[in-house]
Symmetry: C2
Subunit: 145 residues, 2 copies
Amino acid sequence: MDGDDFEIADFLPYMLNRAAEATGQGFSRHYKDRYGMLRTEWRVLFHLGRYGPMTASAICARADLHKTKVSRAVAALESRRHVAREVQEEDRRNATLCLTRSGAAIYADLTEEARRYDDRLAARLTREEARILRSCLARLAERGT
Amino acid sequence: MDGDDFEIADFLPYMLNRAAEATGQGFSRHYKDRYGMLRTEWRVLFHLGRYGPMTASAICARADLHKTKVSRAVAALESRRHVAREVQEEDRRNATLCLTRSGAAIYADLTEEARRYDDRLAARLTREEARILRSCLARLAERGT
DNA sequence: TATTGTTATACTCTATAACTATA
DNA sequence: TATAGTTATAGAGTATAACAATA
């Protein structure tokens, strides 16, 4: 084990974690400090804003979130009147969720901030580096190794 | 807000989080399932194995971990006899921490696994992509945006 | 007073099982 | 019995304040 030069600082899972933590914290203040939201809430709100009204299970599928996470996020968003639910009469187990006026305003604000935040991050990279980075991240996010 | 094409799937903090989660979980089974260790414990053990005996505060500095995290990790490693502590007589607040025989064996096993795991991840990328990825991740891990 | 390290506490995030209500 | 969604619980990760022991 000597003559060993393995460095944790170059270990990809470690580097990815550091970068994810730093960038995630940087953005979280927008939804957290400004709107008291948690990450899952921002993701749920985003999906309703971006793709329009849908049921909780549709959000699960699109956002790749477990139903318990979506359930709690929707409950929190609903209690602050950012999301409204309308039970479907054909099948009363289903409810269509949609953003309220305040929810839509927050969506507009946060997506604008996200776009700007992403631009500021990408400004640390060349255009070509950013392209390669995204391509690598997509491949590394696939499970199985 | 329409004509809006912002996609959360391309948002760097989101992509980084997904890649970090996928790769981190993949590796965690080595220290978790095999040795019942938590991530901080693996990181502390790694530092003692890689850089030799040192105090808790030295680990804090090198590993960029808060003292409470190191304190708990050391307590867990010590209770399973992977780490031993020797109080320094010059200053009884300090204790030098070092790996026991079993700790050293785990370090050897885990660094070998880490090296292999990293190689398997990097195999999804070209050599040039891997180089650029690490360079980008280092820049993105710096706070401030 | 300052430093090293520990304990207490709380919040975020993840994961899973058990449950309700509808069908 | 199956499906949509909720509640309960626990484990892991993070962050901070308060504390004890030593200097």
